[in-house]
Amino acid sequence: MTLPRPSSPHLHGPASTARTMRDVVLASAPGLIALTVCFGWGTLVNLLWAVPLALGCEAAILHARDLPVRRALGDCSALVTALLLAIALPPAAPWWLVAIGTLAAIGFAKHLYGGLGQNPFNPAMIGYVVLLISFPLEMTRWIAPLGAASGAVPGPLEALRGALGLLEPARLDALTMATPLDLLRQNQTLLVAELWRGNPQFGRFGGTGWEWVNAGFLAGGLYLLWRRVFTWHAPAGMLGALVLMATLFYDGGSAASGGSPLFHLFTGATMLGAFFIVTDPVTAPASTRGRLLAGALVGVLVYLIRRWGNYPDAVAFSVLLMNFAAPLIDHLVQPRVYGHGSGGRAP
């Protein structure tokens, strides 16, 4: 195969993996700050432990594979994986939980498939799902928002003690609370208004704290969109489908019909998923139409699993299922080439 070689002068595009990844890290700042304010220092503790671990793991595997270590570490992709995993895990998760998740993400999901750009599944989500199906108890222990349970969110010292497993079980129980999505699923006979009145976890329209976290990630996502790190298709598809599903099924009052569309948009991992996970350039479909379709299917799946599934949130499972489907979606949305029938066959 010969590649056409245009003559100089060439325009050098400023985009690079490292630049993209640094943008992603920067864009996660608002959400990270919201998480810290609303749920305490736990997420930062997760992050402080996950990042060196991910970088160390990446370096060790690259070294074992005889690949250039310094350049690959410089592209910050392992940093982003650790960041997304640390955000997705419950604040002040036990240190071994973070460690297992990070090793599964970097070692198994990324490097066993060939490293950056080769992995069919989003590494951070693989790490999350491995933990969720292995340690359901630890993975569903969320800190109560804005100190709704015990008066104050955990400070740096308490979060650190929680991560090291030094907190007494009673104190840990006092700090944690069911998430709004859990409450909605467990109280199918109540009205949404009753739930709102009886539980401090429900805020103005999303969950207390959750609405700020989601707003933070929305802001970060819009920044990334402005920076053209990704196109609008995947997030629009996911959020649009989620709103559509929630609107179709919500009857305006009962908890059994799921929450309102606004509630679904601003609770759980919706915005994080829409702007930081389904937009992963490696594991999403390559075509824009494919991204729109895959995003929409993620949105539908998120609603289905939230409503009728057994897990606290659904973004990780939905994204992984769509990662499976990405090659098929890309194949199906191929535009017809002029002079050919559909699917590349002669007419």
Binding site: R71, I100, I133, S134, F135, E138
Partner: protein, 238 residues
């Protein structure tokens, strides 16, 4: 010469042509009942007995069975020996029989059994076929046990739990807890764990093979004479 042949069958069955790790046959029982050492051991023993008996029987009738109907005949022989093993296990180790459940009669459909009958026993004398069946079964059982041990260790933090199912009440005390208090790593005992650990075992076997070959090649070929003019044109990048 004859000893050589046996040695080769032994090497093939246990390592070089291992039924589970190289031929990738019989994956269904391998993945389904390798959750603990005791299950793996029960399944492994049953498979060894079935493989040895079918290989012996198939080899002894190989000259009288017309080629056109050999497969149904082999399957009948396999199904009969599986039934015998199943009844034996029901009589001698009922607890184990209960645990293995449907996977015990399903040995009939284990590709490894039919594969060895077709590829080896139908073309070789009785004695070496019986030995071959036993070695193939042992290789399969060994893989199964290693896999069972890994999954039990990572999943439950125990080793040799529930051995009383096979060896009587005294064996209940064989259970080892190397980690003491252990958080159950459920993924290892769930189906995905079976796939992941099998993949790791295959990778480990290939890695060991590659290292052995490298060492053998280095031992066989003396270092290049000094002053060689050959230039290395390939190598590591970066």
């Amino acid at each position: 010469m004859n000893d050589d042949r046996y040695a080769q069958v032994l090497r093939d069955g246990l390592w070089r042509n291992n039924g589970a790790l190289v031929q990738l046959l019989g994956l269904c029982p391998l993945l389904a009942v390798s959750g603990s050492v005791v299950n793996a051991l029960g399944m492994g023993l049953a498979t060894i007995v079935v493989l040895a008996t079918t290989s012996t029987l198939v080899a002894s009738v190989r000259n009288t069975v017309p080629n056109a109907i050999r497969l149904p005949v082999f399957v009948l022989i396999i199904a009969s020996s599986v039934t015998v093993v199943e009844l034996l296990m029901q009589a001698l180790a009922y607890g184990m029989y209960e645990v293995l459940g449907i996977f015990l009669p399903l040995i009939t459909t284990n590709c490894l059994v039919l594969g060895r009958a077709e590829a080896f026993a139908s073309r070789n004398p009785v004695a070496i076929s019986a030995f071959e069946g036993m070695m193939m079964g042992s290789g399969f059982a060994a893989t199964l046990i290693v896999l069972g041990a890994l999954r039990e260790l990572f999943g439950n933090g125990t080793l040799f739990a529930g051995m009383d199912l096979l060896f009587g009440p005294a064996a209940a005390a064989w259970e080892v807890r190397p980690f003491g208090e252990y958080k159950h790593f459920l993924l290892a005992v769930l189906p995905p764990g079976a796939f992941i650990f099998t993949g790791l075992l295959i990778a480990a076997k290939n890695g060991i093979d590659a290292r052995l070959q490298e060492r053998r090649a280095r031992a066989a070929a003396p270092a290049a004479p000094p002053g060689s003019k050959r230039v290395r044109v390939t190598g590591h990048i970066g």
